[in-house]
């Protein structure tokens, strides 16, 4: 019954009531009449679906949301509370800053008050200058019986009548890692709610290659560079790590006595699992978005070509057949039916795309030296490293570019910062992680997909980063 009553409830954004008024009223009258008949006649309640109308439009201002992250209120006298609170506050602040969709109010501009509950929140204090926040994240943090309890709230400072957007409670062990994790989760929830339904990336990982003496091992770190730790201990040269879509396996290429071979490391078993050895050099694996296939470059037939096998290395088949090296395949994560790769069939390596059955080949770059493509999660863009004027004495260098697949138009994201290579998209499509520098001096950097907010993530060397799928 209450659905029936709410069915005629039409809502408009304040922006523009003026022009459609008459039309909407007449359209609203029809369901209203039907509703009255239903109510008066039978008192049955057929499931008329509840519905609300929103009226909005473009050119009405779409700017980044200005959000303030209040310091959380400590609500226990435990000695652990203060350090955990400071970890939580700083992590939440940096997560919101890194999200790319917010204009985060500086800590020096926010009010001194630390509201812990909605009743303690004076929203006018936050919406007024100098904070001028449109959204406020706040809450309380306490340590009870060696477990950490965080109550987080998100308030809409522009909506005095119904300010609450989110209310979340998290409980975990009372340690630094858990405090960071809770902050990541809360930040992800905020980003998910305010960022148009795209899940946040604060809980994602980055896998990268770290040189150690003459060896290279695969390492893992959080998306913000925290908590770096090694994954492999093979004592060899392992390159191009690629994490599977379900975060359970890590494929990479390792130099062993058979040359470069694809290796598979299970993150569930914490050991290397079997992957068949093929002749020649096997490089640059790439997971299909459903996790059932692995594409890689193999020279088992004499010429480096793209091969596709299942996740266990069986049923391998060849996709490309032109003379010249074909390397660095990457699936279109949106469809799984297309693939971008680098081919040297016309001389210098260029960026190509094709269907996964080898048909529909298109060349994307018109010259220079292209390498290491990465297809964006929404399927619209390919990021790749490109040296547009390749050759001795040519101006410019190797930089990160993003190309729109449909139009082949590109933009350059890095400038004058040394050689940049190995871009990898974040799962939300808003960030790109890449390597800057060569050899042992290379570092893993991250930036927004428009080239802003560049900052370094690794502090002790890192190369060939790969962002996890979720």
């Amino acid at each position: 019954m209450n659905h029936n009553l709410r069915a005629t409830h039409r809502v408009y954004d304040k922006v523009s009531m003026h022009s459609l008024n008459g039309k909407n009223h007449s359209r609203a009258a029809l369901p209203c009449l039907a509703l009255m008949l239903l109510l008066l006649g039978l008192f049955v309640s057929p499931a008329l679906e509840a519905q609300d109308n929103v009226f909005t439009g473009t050119n009405v201002g779409a700017e980044r949301i200005r959000i303030a992250a209040a310091d959380f209120k400590p609500q226990s006298g435990d000695a652990q509370t203060a350090p955990l609170k400071s970890t939580f506050d700083s992590t939440l602040f940096s997560d919101l800053t890194n999200a790319g969709i917010f204009d985060v109010v500086s800590k020096s501009l926010i009010p001194q008050a630390t509201p812990g509950t909605p009743s303690e929140m004076n929203i006018a204090q936050w919406s007024a200058a100098p904070a001028s926040a449109a959204m406020v994240a706040f809450g309380s943090l306490s340590v009870q019986n060696s477990s950490l309890v965080v109550n987080g709230f998100l308030f809409d400072a522009k909506n005095a009548q119904y300010p609450q957007v989110l209310a979340k409670q998290y409980t975990d062990q009372a340690n630094e890692g858990a405090a960071r994790q809770i902050a990541h989760r809360f930040a992800d929830e905020i980003i998910f709610r305010l960022g148009g339904g795209i899940p946040g990336i604060a809980e994602t990982k980055i896998y990268y290659v770290r040189p150690e003496g003459g060896n290279k091992e695969i390492w893992e770190m959080d998306y913000d560079g925290a908590n770096p730790h090694p994954i492999t201990h093979l004592g060899s040269i392992s390159i191009s790590p690629r994490i599977s879509p379900d975060n359970s396996r890590l494929a990479f290429s390792t130099l062993d006595r058979n040359g470069f071979q694809i290796h598979m490391y299970s993150l569930l078993l914490n050991r290397v699992v079997n992957f068949p050895i093929a002749a020649g050099t096997n490089l640059s694996p790439a997971w299909s978005p459903n996790g059932n296939e692995l594409a890689y470059s193999s020279s088992r037939s004499g010429d480096p070509e793209i091969w596709i096998s299942d996740a266990n290395g069986a049923l391998s088949r060849r996709v490309t057949s032109f003379k010249g090296p074909d390397v660095s395949p990457v699936y279109n994560p949106r469809t799984g039916s297309q693939m971008a790769w680098i081919s040297g069939r016309t001389g210098l390596p260029q960026l190509y795309i094709m269907n996964t059955d080898g048909s529909g080949i298109q060349r994307m770059t018109d010259g220079g030296y292209a390498s290491s493509p990465s297809w964006s999660p929404n399927g619209q863009f390919i990021a790749f490293a490109w040296d547009r004027k390749y050759g001795p004495g040519a101006p410019g260098g190797q930089d990160i570019y993003v190309m729109e697949v449909a139009t082949k138009r590109w933009i350059q994201l890095t400038h004058d910062s040394g050689p940049c290579d190995f871009p990898s998209w974040s799962p939300d499509g808003r960030h790109i992680v890449y390597a800057n520098g060569r050899g042992h001096s290379a570092q893993v950097w991250t930036m927004l997909a428009d080239g802003t907010q560049k900052h370094v993530l690794s502090n002790n060397g890192g190369d060939m980063p790969n962002w996890s799928w979720k």
Partner: protein
């Protein structure tokens, strides 16, 4: 004395004689005059209607009052109306066997929230209305979606505006605002995307339509919202020329 009485009697007798023999004014007896004249034109009064005595509305004689019912008197009470109490005889009752009281059964805990569906973080004020069929509870209908979930509307705005590619617009076209209507279901997926009111510029219409079609999700509808979908009317203004 007799003379006085004679004079008084003569005066009354003359008056009596005059009353019966003199001219009687205002008497409309048919015998007074042979000619009747009605001067309707001179006097500004409505003409009198002839009176029908049978008509109770026009009759001037009041109809007889209806007979009033006679008040009935209550019959006098019987002599035995009030019983005379007698002394009750003591009755010996055998004691009944005591029944065992049932052991208190544990009450299963009632769920605090719906067992299916997600728990809402926001409570909506409910209003209840009593009807003949029962109590009807409805969500606070004064809270319009755009006012209650302003952040979600802002997000729709931002998301569509970000997907609108104006490069394919015909700059010379004479267009005005185009209105696109679509629905957002519970999980945030847009559907039923159509043009409600074209702008007159086909390129504008097409780019506006594809802007919404490009979007996979707007994010799930807010937790506090109970409906299954919302209908969005979105307008695109052509960018102002240089």
């Amino acid at each position: 004395m007799l003379f006085h009485a004679l004079i008084v009697g003569a005066i009354f007798g003359y008056a009596y004689y005059l009353r019966h023999q003199g001219n009687s004014w205002g008497n409309n007896a048919a015998t007074t005059s042979a000619i009747q004249a009605t001067m309707v034109n001179a006097i500004p009064l409505p003409p009198r209607q002839p009176v029908n005595a049978d008509n109770v509305l026009t009759s001037e004689t009041p109809s007889p009052a209806p007979p009033t019912a006679k008040e009935k008197l209550a019959p006098p009470p019987e002599p035995t109306a009030i019983p005379i109490p007698e002394k009750p005889k003591p009755v010996k009752v055998a004691p009944k066997p005591v029944q065992a009281t049932p052991h208190p059964q544990p009450v299963p805990p009632q769920p605090q929230k719906a067992t299916t569906g997600e728990a809402t973080g926001v409570r909506i004020a409910m209003t209840s209305t009593q009807t003949r069929a029962g109590t009807v509870s409805i969500g606070a209908t004064d809270a319009a979606f755009g006012a209650r979930f302003a952040y979600y509307v802002a997000q729709i705005k931002q998301k569509v505006a970000a997907q609108w590619y104006t490069a394919m617009l015909d700059p010379a076209a004479k267009g005005h605002r185009v209105y696109i209507v679509f629905q957002i279901s519970r999980d945030g997926t847009p559907s039923s995307i159509r043009i409600q009111q074209p702008s007159g510029d086909p390129t504008l219409d097409q780019t506006a339509l594809s802007a919404v079609q490009h979007i996979d999700t707007f994010g799930p509808l807010p937790d506090g919202y109970n409906g299954n979908y919302i209908t969005v009317v979105y307008y695109f203004d052509p960018p102002s020329g240089p």
